[in-house]
Amino acid sequence: MTDASINASTQSQTQGYEDEASFGDYFALLKPRVMSLVVFTAFVGLVAAPVSVHPVVGFCAILFIAIGGGASGALNMWWDADIDRIMKRTKGRPIPSGKVQEGEALSLGLALSGMSVIMLALATNLFAGLFLAFTIFFYVVIYSMWLKRSTPQNIVIGGAAGAFPPVIGWIAATGSMAVEPWLMFALVFMWTPPHFWALALFMRSDYDDAGVPMLTVTHGRRATRVHILIYTALLALLAVGASFSDIGGPIYLTVAVVLNAMFLHGAWKISRRNEDDSEADNFKVERSFFKLSLLYLFLHFGAILAEAVLKPYGLGGWS
């Protein structure tokens, strides 16, 4: 047997396995960037709750909420594999790139969903576990399977799934419901549409090609710009109004006033622009609004966290 023949034999043995997934590809199925938002907002919900949680229990709660969020991401990628193959933004995902099979994503998603719900219920309480199960159901069935491809309000209603984590964090800590976590929910819920519509504006034909009825496709880009302004104005009212609730305080109020002024200014500029303006500078205003939206949510929740952490020292909140 010559070297050449052994090489040929090795090559034939590895043929078909070239696209075999790495550990990172399976991890990518869990949408790590979305998971980071889930982790952060759930953590803030847990810390803002008016009870003390053992650090190990708190860590486990956040971990299982994050795994539940990741599981719904895997199930979303399984269901949306057909449109992910069409859109530029999602072409590189593990399933469209051929590294992970659709069935593998489904199995991983289902297994992690079950595991995360059971473990969260065991680590904290049954209510939190059931709420996580509902969140996964909402994201996968209500948003991905039903709304995403049937209504231009997909982002508006589907955004609720991404807004539930602070509520789950709060329930994990207290075992009960209150108004404060729903204010955090409302913040993420109202933030989601302008955030995604700005993305839809500069991703241009992506959603169109995939046949996803985004507002830009069904009602046109002009209407989307107006919608961004309306939702941003409502969000600003809510975000600043929340300053005077139990989750707010002077730090939060300062952050909210500054950021909402900037956000409203960005939305106003988007609403005044036409397509020619945007094409001319490659959607500079829309892109910067999208980037600001990421900072917006992070800093609002960061301020809620700061108020909660400082409260025991008599510094946070209005008291």
Partner: protein
């Protein structure tokens, strides 16, 4: 032409196996720590009234 004993695929498979192994090990540590915390806090203690009923 030289023979490549280690194909790139082997490295990828090793990485995957290592990842699964470490994930399982981490899961064991988490469940163990959680159990210790719950037992030491008395989460699994039977309430006296339940004992009487049983």
């Amino acid at each position: 032409m030289s023979l490549r004993k280690e194909h790139e695929l082997h490295g990828r498979r090793y990485g995957r196996n290592l990842g699964v192994g470490l994930t399982l090990a981490a899961f064991i540590v988490i469940v163990f720590s959680l159990t210790i915390v719950k037992v030491s806090r008395g989460d699994f203690q039977v309430v006296p009234s339940e004992q009487v009923q049983n």
